[in-house]
Point group: C2
Chain length 541, copies 2
Amino acid sequence: MRRWNGWGDDSHQAQLADFAKALLADILGETHPLPDATMQEAIKNVPESRAPEHPLLDKSPETRVRHACGQSFPDWLEMRSGKFGSVADAVAFPETTEHVRELMDWAAEKDLILVPYGGGTSVVGHLACPRSDKPQITVALTRMNRLLDFDKESQIATFGAGVRGPDLEAQLAAIGYTLGHFPQSFELSTVGGWVVTRSSGQQSLRYGRIEQLFAGGIVETPKGKLEIPSIPASSAGPDLRETILGSEGTMGILTEVKVRVTPLPEAEQFYTVFMPDWESGVAAVQAITQGRIPLSMLRLSNAKETDIMLKLAVPEKKLSKLNMLFKFKGLTDQKCMLTFGLTGSKKQVAVNEKLANVHLKHHGAKRVLSKMLGDKWQENRYKGPYLRHPLWEHGVAADTFETAMDWSALRPYMSEIEDKVCNALKEQGIPVFAYTHLSHVYPQGSSAYTTYLFPVASSYEETMERWKIVKKVASETVVAHGGTISHQHGVGRDHAPYLPAEKGELGMSTLKTLSKHFDPDGRMNPGVLLGDEVASSTEPA
Amino acid sequence: MRRWNGWGDDSHQAQLADFAKALLADILGETHPLPDATMQEAIKNVPESRAPEHPLLDKSPETRVRHACGQSFPDWLEMRSGKFGSVADAVAFPETTEHVRELMDWAAEKDLILVPYGGGTSVVGHLACPRSDKPQITVALTRMNRLLDFDKESQIATFGAGVRGPDLEAQLAAIGYTLGHFPQSFELSTVGGWVVTRSSGQQSLRYGRIEQLFAGGIVETPKGKLEIPSIPASSAGPDLRETILGSEGTMGILTEVKVRVTPLPEAEQFYTVFMPDWESGVAAVQAITQGRIPLSMLRLSNAKETDIMLKLAVPEKKLSKLNMLFKFKGLTDQKCMLTFGLTGSKKQVAVNEKLANVHLKHHGAKRVLSKMLGDKWQENRYKGPYLRHPLWEHGVAADTFETAMDWSALRPYMSEIEDKVCNALKEQGIPVFAYTHLSHVYPQGSSAYTTYLFPVASSYEETMERWKIVKKVASETVVAHGGTISHQHGVGRDHAPYLPAEKGELGMSTLKTLSKHFDPDGRMNPGVLLGDEVASSTEPA
């Protein structure tokens, strides 16, 4: 069953091996967990629903708790403590576009706040509302999960916006197709969520980001229905898809999504190689992407991530054997793990592997358990977030942040970011451990994805304070280097303060004008994307 | 020297061979040209300038005539007759972003209309203003034509928005790079024009449309400066680039453009093959694009275009020899010419040619003078528009229109469009001749580009009436089949009436809201994109 207070289905239980616990003690010192609330305790804290009656609503406290937030670090603390800053007054479960329209008109009539909810996987605070004197309804789209139309010749599939990754792929696989959008949240997140947060999948190198896959659809807005037809490309004025992409629920609710699909590939393989050091690793991925070698996936871990990944995954005895192998190949503790994917016809896979290998070899790549480690990556591609559980239970807080920037900016950023983060709690004498990889590589630049760990404090409040400090340092460093505040997670509440650095004053007022155009009364997911200004207008004076 | 009343530089004079003239007589009957105005006559018609004084202005009638319009068919009639519906009161020649800012503030102070002007190649009516009681200033960006910055590592070049294609490519070639954006207007059009009209180059299959190449830049708007930073990809809210792409001067003036460039390719080759018929041609280009074979260019002529191209280009004697060759290869009058390009490293070119050939052969492609015809295409890639001159002087009016739609819509569209166009003037007993090709092919669908010819009437007014009828029929047929009103030319004035069919009511009001946000007084290129509603607000009551 889906966990109410964490990531994923409880049938998958991630574990920390004893050697991993020992390693954490080395890095972070002794750590102590905080007590978790039970569902019953959480329910006790839920206020009475203020929602008016409507046949599509579920007002039960448990349903409300289960949809109270996403998976950001502040969300996590709310779930584990059972104390939510705000719980929606009810959850609506529309099954059709018409239901959504009905809910929207009803919300206008009753002056309600609406929060669209897809898979509940947001890690940046998309899904909670600020406390408001208006009742707030979470609109869960999970029942809108069918393949509604398929245009085989044009390779366009139309889905209900609430379909989750595996259900979407299963319906496509049955007819021989794939969307190819595999974010780490794939098991839980929905196609509508991908669109409105501008998500990117692990194989975006082949299939494109969701911006490239989203061909059109239907958006119900307070101002009316927006229907975006599917057209392969157009010069007919500004592209309306781009106002919905990244709108994070502030402009309306996406109900149907047309996506560009591809026949299931004939062949697919992932490999891992080791580069001598960071510089050679970056040079190799630059050469491959700037040389337009059509791989389907590229991920380059820095030396710190490479080291911790190996130490956390491999028992000490086996590791020393592996280290001998590395040594034999001339690899030092500066080595960087590079995983890449090949997808397409058998011929294309063979050809592209050769083309990529020329660059990899040229930059000193060494193969150690190449296919086995590639397979391992594939096997565990969605498993990262589950690790938060055993870490938490061991008293370790885990979070990630990510950005993208031009190659020329990435070099100075990389030399600074981990230092900044690791020293963020230095004054308090608290260690932070951080490591980074590039997972979405473009000719122009790359994403950079940092994971960080720190000891849980002796209270929820203090743990939140620690996180706030680290998050602020990380975000400010991203912004100072000209990075986007998010490459794949979105803005939500957590990143809203940093959006103006990127969009500028006129850019921010443009986004606010757009939001106001679609949602003049500010009832659509206030507080998200555009920050507190909108949110506060819905709060009691 | 650049022609004042037609396309391109007068050093290139296109000619109609006698056999081509005979063919036109067969198709259109006897045709008679209209008398052309001289520059002196055109100047006589220019009203006195109402522009206030400003050091950046040129008010000379000749300069005003040279910037009075673009290259649409109505523009053409104005130029050839020397009677312009409207001539700007002055042309400003800013040299820096600061100059543009200064002009914009001055326009606000003096209540003027501003019309941005790049290469003057618009074929859909972007560049004239409706008659207005406010003085109108054309802002020619041609002096803003330098490479301002180059980030080698990130492959980002920053140009003044008024740089023309050849000057842009020459500055990049000097440092070993290319943008790879080659629309047919390349010789004259500018990078800023490409962005604000969402242009697409002939090798978009490799380099992408201008949407993919435009990384950021500076836009001066009546509301202030919009600076869009270069970021490889972002999930931080709606993408502001997309409000500028296709804005056609209604939101401000793009002054600096950051573009994604590529090292000059090691190898490039174009080939022409002949497909047995339209169906097999479509099947081949679908297989290649949907199979993700990275070609750099694909163009498929229908049988009618193939036939007329050969007949217009090859003298009868040589043609009969060529026809024997076709016959020997089993090709009939249903054959369709398919030209494709390969670009990249030598290895990539060789590999991709093999991959493409598998599909071409499978669908029955025959090679006849394959490399020679490919080279010929490359040699003449920008020469099409020059043909309007000898045709016009022979009494033949020539124009084109284009769209893009999903593959499933393209089949019924193709079976109808030429019939509709060719019969548009049937009631008046006037023949129209039309032929079509696909030149931008996507996995989802394709562009379709139709050229049509009809006899010039005995007056300019009547010729304009004939064009209006054909244009209306063509546009209505495009819209009825779900095509975009333009894949690569933009909206301008000519397509504005058909934009609501594509954007919907809420979509149109969104675009109007955006325009009003940046340009509250409606002084930026009124009448374009959003149609008469905006234009009329600037007209005398």
